[in-house]
């Protein structure tokens, strides 16, 4: 989950998010290298009284600074495409969960076996217990089995919403009349927090998502107790 004065991403809890973290480090390193080179060149040019007023051509450096950016872009594109295709890999999920966005709460449906459905409203700040997180706690969490591939189908019953889970690298728009699929898998048990990520009215900031990833046995006993 997010913490105060956070600068980077949340810790990765899914294989795709781990890959995204590495890719981000790689791309950001390239950005820092280029920026520091440019900054150095600017400072060097500004801090000298020497001038060269009759430059006619500079073939070698022009060639270098044409070819090198192309090479750098390829070095960024290849890992990026690798992750893009990795996200689209065909996997056979073990369970399907539907989530529907409403103004202003999420509802969840587990209909593979019996029909289990419930709404998930944010807990208002006045009703928080000590230790609870402001604007992030909900009354009913989405309990899911960890380490299994889960198919999430995301839609909306009214306006556009977006179902986001940063630590799992997921963000999928909830569009009325459309069913969007996302593949979810968590490497760890625990609580994972997300928030609605598409402006949807006055309480857009107040419809969070909590995933509770638990071992399969606990998930099975939870779902039988909820039906």
């Amino acid at each position: 989950m997010a913490y105060p004065s956070q600068l980077g991403f949340q810790d990765a809890s899914s294989p795709i998010m781990e890959e995204l973290l590495y890719f981000h480090d790689h791309a950001l390193m390239i950005v820092f290298l280029i920026s520091s080179l440019v900054l150095y060149v600017i400072l060097a040019m500004l801090s000298t009284k020497l001038m060269h007023t009759n430059t006619m051509d500079a073939q070698v450096i022009e060639t270098i600074w044409t070819i090198l950016p192309a090479v750098i872009l390829v070095l960024i594109a290849l890992p990026s495409l690798r992750i893009l295709y990795m996200m689209d890999e065909i996997n056979n999920p073990t369970i399907t969960v539907k989530t529907l966005g409403h103004q202003w709460y999420w509802s969840y449906e587990y209909t593979d076996y019996e029909d289990l459905m419930f709404d998930s409203y944010m807990i208002p700040s006045e009703e928080l217990k000590p230790g609870d997180l402001r604007l992030l706690e909900v009354d009913n969490r989405v309990v899911l089995p960890m380490e299994l591939t889960i198919r999430m189908l995301i839609s909306s019953e009214d306006v556009l919403h977006s179902w986001a889970m940063p630590s799992l690298g997921l963000k999928t728009d909830a569009i009325p009349g459309r069913l969007n699929q996302a593949t979810l898998s968590s490497t760890r048990p625990g609580l994972f927090y997300g928030q609605c990520s598409e402006i949807c009215g006055s309480n857009h900031s107040f419809m969070p998502i909590i995933l509770e990833m638990v071992p399969l046995k606990i998930f099975e006993s939870w779902s039988s107790s909820m039906v």
């Binding site: 065909i90 996997n91 056979n92 999920p93 073990t94 369970i95 399907t96 539907k98 529907l100 449906e109 209909t111 593979d112 076996y113 029909d115 459905m117 089995p145 380490e147 299994l148 198919r151 189908l153 839609s155 019953e157 999928t172 009349g177 459309r178 069913l179 969007n180 699929q181 996302a182 071992p215 399969l216």
Partner: protein, 88 residues
């Protein structure tokens, strides 16, 4: 430490709709709708021929897993009222 086979649901039960290569992308709307149509068409055909509708159960399980409950309720109401837009 964690046996992956213990993590999977017991065999023989309906797990969840498998990957359908007809709908490989993110937009699964048609997957849900097509299985709903196929179930009702299958029912209609089997009933017309006087055969058991057991093979239609596959389509039922798929659309029941994939389609939001409100969509299914709306379509079933439309079928009852005769205003369903799909060809069954």
């Amino acid at each position: 430490m964690l046996d992956i086979n213990l993590q999977k649901p017991p065999k023989g039960k309906w797990p969840t709709p498998p990957f359908d290569p007809r709908f490989p992308n993110q937009n699964q709307t048609r997957n849900c709708y097509q299985n709903f149509l196929d179930y009702h068409r299958c029912l209609k055909t089997m009933n017309r021929r006087g055969k058991s509708t057991q093979p239609c159960e596959y389509y039922f399980r798929v659309y029941h897993s994939l389609c939001p409950i409100s969509w299914v309720q709306r379509w079933n109401e439309q079928i009852r009222d005769g205003t369903f837009a799909g060809k069954i």
